[in-house]
Amino acid sequence: MIRRRLMLVMPVLLCMLLPWPVVAAQYNYIDISNPFLRKTPIAVPSFKADAQNPSAMAAAKAASELLKFYLDFTGYFTFSDPTAFLEDPQKMDITGSGIRYRNWTAIGAELLVTGGVEIRDGNTEFELRLFDTVKEKMLVGKRYRGSPEDDRQVARRFCSEVVFAITGSRGFFDSKIAFVSNGSGHKEIFVCEFDGSNISQFTHHNSISLFPDWSSDGRWIAYTTYADKSPRIRIQHVSENRAARIDKPGLQAAPAWVPGKFELAASLSFSGDQEIYLLTGNGKVIKRLTSSMGIDVEPSWSPDGKRMVFVSNRSGTPQLFIYDTVSNRVQRLTFEGRYNTQPSWSPKGDRIAYSAMENGVIDIFTINPEGGEPVQLTENQGSNEAPTWAPDGSLIVFSSTREGKSRLYVMTAYGTDQRRLLTLPGEQSNPKWSPNILNP
């Protein structure tokens, strides 16, 4: 219901640009090699609103708090302490002309967000700006109009602008996460927002359902389920009552959608041996992609859809291999350790995250797809499994037993800022981050 209403408001939000042009960043605000090592100090004073209008004041407070929460979630920023502010947020000038930059640089803020909220004819108008306090210039200026309950959407839109201004990437603010939870006593697929909020149950099979994966347009989730006794893949529409199946006997495991196409790869065993096949979104086999006796499972695609990383035990132990669809060549990627599985190719293309088991403990690593030294992201905190990338490649969600039960956690692509994503009864596993979904 809420989603439907937002769909109506969204185009309005998107079109309500202020007359000021967006000033593109001229230099890197973020250290490319590890933007999370040195976080950028930012000041986000409470948004200004008419003190006589309680609903405007409430909307202003809620929107600025949400904006702070989302900016914090990215891992790029540290926040200036509001008690140290030299300006009164409710009295200061929020437009470019009246900003006293030195009052912000003095407390260490390199970036400043100002906001104003007005309620007119039942509509709420948000006026939001991002300033570079060192260069003394405005980087982003936006005006959004919607109902007072749209503060969430407004905060995300603007956050996406802020992240774009300083990193050149749109972020992940229109993405969701699918995962498996067994709180009901059965493993079912659940869906939540990128920040772990708004959790809803997606399957109701009272069976075992595993390995959700989102289509590029975010409209379909493919997953493996025992709902028909054997482990079979279902390709299910996210909001409509439509589903496709794969009409082949045997195991059907771990589907992976091809970026930008209505096609997916999955491990099927109908030939008598487990091989990875390319399938249409309707579940029809297009062709076989692997051919080696033994286990071939868990495909994950490069962002251009030309290469596929997968797990194979063809060399004796489970290791990662890369299949090149253009040259038809297969190359081994991992050589360290005896148990490397769960590969996930970053949407940025530059890294592959995976999990490696050593002495019974599983930890998350990343490796360059061209090969090289793996980098360890988790350590000494239970078993850490099933990494999945944010659509901009900046964050990784994974499951961990660090607090006993398996739960979902999030960290930066460099392994910093590890924290719990959500709390639910039962245990959570198999998280899968969606692409940004503009029209869900």
Partner: protein, 198 residues
Amino acid sequence: MKRKWIILAMLFVIPAMLFSVSCAKKAVMTEPSTTDTSAADEAARKAELEKKQAMERQKQLEEERLAAERAEKLKAEAMQRDMMMSKNRFLNENIHFAFDSATLDNQAQELLKQKAMWLRDFPDAKVVIEGHCDERGTNAYNLALGERRAESAKAFLVNLGISGARLTTISYGEEKPLDLGHNEEAWAKNRRDAFVLE
């Protein structure tokens, strides 16, 4: 057996002979006499005794028959028990695997040979072979590994002459552990093929 028949024949023949003798006597002796009376009494007593003995033998025979029946029943029960036991053994004895392996070791092969014998004795039985893994490792890989464990048991049984049409396989990966412990003992128990009747 033969003796039983002879005894049985005697039982019918002797009273018949006695009866015919007394009848003959009656027909000849028209005048009653004391000696004759005592002889008749003697004969009657004898007949009575014979009859009693015959009945006793009959009773004894009946008892023997019941005992044989009981023995037969016990034997059938024992066989039934054996059948149940062999069925339970078939269903309850899992075959086990080393970590990250679907290879059948000697013990697994011995157990599978016994299972093949049972399958030959019960040609109508259809079986689901479930492949399972321990909790270590990751679940998609374990799902694939579980299928290979089930398939290697199936291939072994087919090689022993069991029709593949009677054997289906399913992998549960690490989803259905038998022992919820987190130690080698539990893991060893969980790395298994289980056999279920369809």
